[in-house]
């Protein structure tokens, strides 16, 4: 059903309304601050990046014509000629340098501040050519530049009440927390694109309401529908589903530096107690792939296929808890709506515990403030990690000893060394073997329990064509607006 759409030839014209799942007054047109899917959708429509990842997860050039290096440390970027901003200004390397350098400025509040810091220096060669000097070698720079935050702005942009980019749409209306409207950029540098004359983007946070709005024809696309709605949607004509198996996951984190995670055996016991199959079937309704407690997804070419997921084994868990001296002690697990499906996962664990006589106390806490108050802080809690394009980003963000989001406070010198080594290496085979071993280390040593990879399902009107799944996330990696068209 979902694949039939591709056969048609694209057609220009028409307008659609699409709905994401969340928006608030914190909505922004500043790519550095973008934090929600709605922000990404807007950014993708109004701006361009130097590179982007295609459906297969490989790097493609967008505003850059080429990005080259010999040592993974110094990178030469050549820009595509003849690109203009919405206000008519020509794209030059000044714009690119401004756009990248601002992430390093703390007062900007960039989400990728930590990542941007490795770009030690920018050198303008001429209007089309520039150099980026990294503080240490990193072979993944072109992929890093494909992150949504590294959208290219016009030099000196300070005002974000509207967007002046090079993207397929011009910003017509932007009301934070309400809606935004983009109209077709007639001078768009990509041939024939976009097909739509305009598109409106809103957010409906209530999932049944989002689905109903699609069914009633008020919107053409409803992002991220609940697995439970799929059975109903499949029976309805005029609706198609787009499934993306991405690297998104909700994980149960046991801090290794605190009670009870510091008792040997507890974490491993938890890994055996979590019933991945039930989570996959009942909680995720089969829209998930069983995972093996490490963050590199099966889509990634560095995924270690040899590493199998642990089987559900309550008896083994019981003996491990006994070994840790914790059997029978009530353990609090913090869960929240903020980390998708975590409450349901927690009850699955709780139920399994109850069956072997191990009590867990599920504490549901508000989504408001969850990330600042509970995540990374509570001894046993849930987290939710969005897909990242490379193992390097994942590992340095989540597992390196100095990682800002080291969810289980995992510390290993060996791991840190391997990370730097792989990062600087341009030798594919060597990197693969290092990453394989690192995945094994995480699965066995870290306190992060990753039960399943969560698939994203978007529902859309069958009139809407051209939407293809993308590993960076739903809605075609948030860039659907410039690629879709309306069938007559």
């Amino acid at each position: 059903r979902a694949t039939r759409a591709f056969a048609d030839t694209p057609k220009s014209g028409g307008s659609i309304t699409a709905a994401g799942w969340s928006s608030s007054t914190a909505d922004t047109l500043d790519p550095a601050k973008a934090s929600l899917s709605t922000d990404y959708v807007r950014c993708c429509a109004f701006y361009n990046r130097l590179t982007f990842l295609d459906e297969g997860g490989t790097v493609q050039m967008e505003l850059a014509e080429s990005i080259e290096t010999t040592d993974a440390k110094t990178w030469k970027v050549t820009l595509r000629p003849g690109v203009v901003f919405h206000d008519g200004k020509k794209l030059t390397t000044d714009d690119v340098i401004f756009s990248l350098a601002r992430h390093k400025d703390e007062s900007v509040g960039s989400k990728v501040n930590a990542m941007a810091k490795q770009m030690a220096e920018f050198k303008k060669v001429d209007d089309r050519v520039m150099e980026i000097e990294l503080s240490a070698p990193n072979a993944d720079l072109p992929i890093i530049l494909a992150l949504h935050h590294f959208m290219i702005l016009a030099d000196g942009t300070k005002d974000f009440t509207t967007a002046n980019g090079t993207g397929a749409f011009k910003c017509d209306v932007f009301e934070p927390g309400v809606r935004s409207v983009g109209v077709k950029n007639e001078n768009y540098w990509k041939d024939k694109l976009p097909y739509l004359d305009s598109f409106e983007f809103i957010a409906i946070s209530d999932e049944p309401a989002r689905v109903n709005a699609l069914l009633s024809g008020d919107i053409a696309l409803a992002a991220t529908v609940n697995p439970r709605s799929i059975r109903r949607l499949e029976t309805i004509d005029g609706v198609q589903l787009s499934k993306t198996t991405s690297g998104n996951y909700t994980d149960l984190n046991v801090r290794l530096d605190m009670d009870p995670g510091d008792k040997a055996g507890f974490v491993e016991g938890m890994k055996y107690l979590i019933n991945r199959e039930v989570i996959q079937r009942s909680v995720m309704r089969d829209l998930a792939v069983i995972a093996n407690d490490q963050p590199v997804s099966p889509n990634d070419r560095y995924h270690n296929k040899e590493l199998k997921a642990r089987e559900y084994d309550p008896e083994k868990a019981k003996s491990l808890f006994q070994k840790a001296g914790l059997f029978g002690t009530s353990i609090p697990i913090v869960a929240s709506e903020a980390a998708g499906s975590s409450i349901d996962m927690a009850t699955v664990v709780q139920q399994a515990g109850q069956e072997i006589g191990m009590p867990f106390d599920v504490q549901r806490v508000p989504s408001d403030g969850y990330w600042s108050n509970y995540w990374l802080k509570a001894p046993v809690h849930f987290g939710n990690i969005n897909p990242r394009p490379t193992p390097d980003i994942l590992f340095s963000l989540l597992y390196a000893s100095d990682a800002p989001w080291n969810e289980s406070h995992y510390k290993s010198e060996k791991f840190d060394k391997m990370l730097v080594e792989a990062r600087g290496s341009l030798d594919e085979a060597k990197r693969k073997s290092i990453y394989d071993e690192m995945q094994v280390m995480i699965a066995n040593e870290a306190g992060t329990i990753i039960p399943v990879w969560i698939s994203n399902v978007d529902a859309l009107s069958s009139k809407l064509k051209g939407l293809r799944p993308n590993p960076l996330g739903g809605m075609m990696g948030y860039a659907f607006a410039e690629h879709v068209w309306l069938a007559s």
């Binding site: 007062s107 509040g109 809606r179 409906i204 309401a209 009633s216 990330w371 108050n373």
Partner: protein
């Protein structure tokens, strides 16, 4: 008579200012109690200590909170609501459109639910103890015991998805003509009317029954007046005070309490704005929203009091 009302209104406005100040302080301290601040919330998962500190300095958040509150308060006195922390826009700009939307919705709901509540309340009082009366009372309790989100979802499924009569979303941005306006407001209004009328119906009924038991109603009957006349001309004007008071309390819900309706119908009103503001710890926005709710609540109560006084010549001519 006007002098009495004017004096009352003035006095109430004075008290209102005082209440507003209390609420402003209370809300300020409440916000302070909430863990996390706007810098941390804006950075979300990416909030490393350095990043937070940097952003905080940039946003002048390292000034003492109380000082910022005073800034905001003095700004308010000169008519400046300040700038939102979360997106650096004028709070007045953020609020004005949404407040208009909320008021519109509240107005249409009032227009719709008040006559219904009055009619049901009055008629059930007229036929007190009858089967009809019992039905109305069971109906009101049933209606309020169905969760609001269920009423809304059910309405959408029936009227938008199956029948396709009405749109599932109430986006009030582009409205052409009265017909479309009705279509757009129909479902949120039905949902809200369900919620607010029950209390009004019950209070109207009680108040009318109270007055129907009086000697002057009996006297009207003995003058040969019809049931209709008795209820409308004699009982109702005297029951107006308590009825209007109950209505004011019910209607005050229509601004701050309609978060579910705003969410489900994607209606851009102030309730959701306030929730957003709280979850981003956007102090100027929180304060402004709180002021709006407080003002509207106090205004409604004031209107109720004025109506009660107008309806009662004894108070009116004091």
């Amino acid at each position: 008579m006007n002098a009495v009302i004017a004096r009352l209104v003035l006095k109430r406005l004075g008290i209102m200012l005082l209440s507003l100040l209390i609420v402003a302080f209370a809300v300020f301290f409440a916000t302070e109690l909430l863990p996390g601040d706007v810098a941390q919330i804006l950075l979300g998962q990416a909030a490393t200590p350095e990043a937070v500190a940097g952003l905080r300095t940039a946003m002048h958040l390292d000034e003492p909170a109380f000082l910022r509150f005073l800034h905001w308060l003095f700004g308010l006195m000169s008519g400046d609501l300040g700038r939102s922390y979360a997106n650096d826009r004028e709070v007045a700009d953020l609020i004005s459109g949404r407040l208009a939307n909320s008021l519109e919705l509240a107005f249409v709901t009032t227009l719709f639910s008040v006559p219904i509540a009055l009619t049901l309340g009055i008629t059930s009082a007229m036929f007190r103890g009858s089967f009809y009366d019992r039905m109305v009372s069971v109906f009101t309790v049933t209606v309020i015991s169905i969760p609001e989100f269920m009423v809304a979802t059910l309405a959408v499924i029936i009227f938008a998805v199956y029948l396709r009569w009405l749109p599932a979303l109430s986006v009030a941005s582009e409205v052409h003509g009265i017909g479309e306006l009705l279509r757009i407001y129909a479902m949120p209004v039905i949902t809200l009317a369900f919620v607010v009328s029950a209390q009004m119906i019950r209070m109207t009924r009680a108040a009318v029954i109270d007055t129907l038991n009086t000697a002057y109603v009996e006297m009207a009957l003995l003058k040969g007046a019809s049931r209709r006349r008795i209820v409308l001309r004699h009982a109702l004007p005297n029951a107006l005070g308590p009825i209007v008071n109950a209505m004011a309390l019910s209607l005050s819900y229509l601004l701050g309490g309609v978060i579910i309706v705003e969410t489900i119908f994607n209606y851009p009103g102030v309730a959701k704005l306030m929730v957003d503001a709280v979850s981003t710890r956007d102090l100027p926005l929180i304060q402004s929203c709180a002021m709006i709710f407080c003002v509207s609540y106090l205004l409604l109560i004031l209107i109720a009091d004025v109506v009660a006084i107008m309806a009662n010549p004894r108070l009116r001519n004091q």
